[in-house]
């Protein structure tokens, strides 16, 4: 059975979809069978993030209502053969996918994959609960902003009422220069506040999109950060990216200009 991991945040725009996509790509590049499930019905973006929006024939609503099987709806990634995406629906039809139906779809997906990553919608409404109820692990994504951390805290409180055996934190869009100067809350302190293990720190980077790890800027800090996150999640590493490294020393001080 696959590991089913929901990627949630509370606040929108912190990078759930980007983290889900990049983590999924990296796990699949390691040879794992990975299914990315977009649980955001109505404001879905996982298909666009992975450039498969023109190849979507069936979506999760079609599967839930019996018009298509799960395998029919899965879209294989063009670049990474063991990665598939279960797209969500564009229309605002969230009420057509019940929690039990979604859980059943994820359970079926986990029988022929090693990882199922569920991209949860923002907020803590019905869609969020639907996404969380199908998962056994959770990754909470936040940025170093006060409002995002506060929403992440509320999300963690709700997640703890579900059958989630393992939970971890990813702090996204971290400015290492601001951390060095003490002008933002460091990721380690955010993890301590939220009482979660820190799975990953992703630096702010113009190079970040999907396929951060495959693009020409492979040496970019974000690419390395995602690789370290993948190793942490897969259990083959326990280090997080040091976003302050490149801003230390003489050349580090020059880099801020």
């Amino acid at each position: 059975m696959a590991r089913t991991i929901v990627v949630a945040s509370g606040k929108g725009g912190v990078g759930k979809t980007t983290v889900t996509a990049n983590l999924g790509v990296l796990l699949a590049m390691d040879g794992k069978r990975v299914i990315l499930a977009d649980a955001d019905i109505g404001l879905n973006n996982l298909d666009v993030a992975l450039c498969i929006e023109n190849r979507v024939v069936y979506d999760i609503v079609d599967v839930a209502e019996g018009r298509a099987g799960l395998r029919d709806a899965l879209v294989k990634d063009k670049f990474v053969p063991t990665l598939s995406v279960l797209p969500s629906a564009k229309a605002n039809c969230s009420d057509r996918v019940r929690t039990a139906a979604f859980a059943g779809i994820i359970a079926e997906a986990s029988t022929y994959s090693d990882y199922v990553l569920i991209d949860a919608p923002a907020g803590v409404e019905a869609g969020f609960h639907r996404a969380v109820s199908a998962a056994r692990e959770a990754i909470v994504v936040t940025t170093p902003h006060v409002s995002a951390i506060r929403d992440a805290d509320r999300t963690v409180s709700i997640l703890s009422t579900y059958n989630i055996s393992r939970m971890g934190l990813v702090v996204n869009r971290v400015r290492g220069d601001l951390v060095n100067r003490g002008e933002t809350v460091p990721p380690e302190k955010i993890a301590a506040l939220l009482r979660l293990p820190l799975y990953g720190v992703i630096p702010e980077s113009d190079a970040v999109g999907v396929y951060t790890v495959l693009n020409a800027y492979g040496r970019d800090g974000a690419a390395e950060a995602y690789r370290m996150l993948k190793e942490y999640v897969a259990g083959s590493g326990n280090e997080v990216y040091d976003c302050t490294r490149r801003f230390r020393g003489l050349f580090g001080r020059l880099k801020k200009f």
């Binding site: 006060v146 951390i149 506060r150 805290d153 509320r154 409180s157 601001l178 951390v179 100067r181 003490g182 002008e183 933002t184 809350v185 460091p186 302190k189 506040l193």
Partner: protein, 79 residues
């Protein structure tokens, strides 16, 4: 922006999160009622013998102190 911005944000967050985690009114009453039901299965005691004290979130967690002074234990048949 000064060096204190990060520290100020951290302190603000701690206080905001502590307020967010404030327990609703009646929370302790509910706990006490459930504990009373549980303990009455094993002990006989007057109404005011069961005391409960809950320290609200102080950044480290909630602390619940339960004190029961019961003059008599009930006969319990162990199978």
């Amino acid at each position: 922006m000064t060096r204190r911005t990060g520290e100020d944000s951290y302190e603000r967050l701690k206080q905001t999160m502590a307020r967010d985690r404030a327990l609703p009114e009646g929370f302790l009453t509910l706990i006490r009622k459930d504990l009373d039901t549980l303990f009455k299965a094993y002990f006989e005691y007057p109404e005011d013998a069961l005391k409960t004290e809950l320290t609200p979130w102080a950044g480290e967690g909630y602390t619940l102190k339960v004190t029961l002074s019961a003059p008599r234990a009930k006969q319990v048949k162990l199978l």
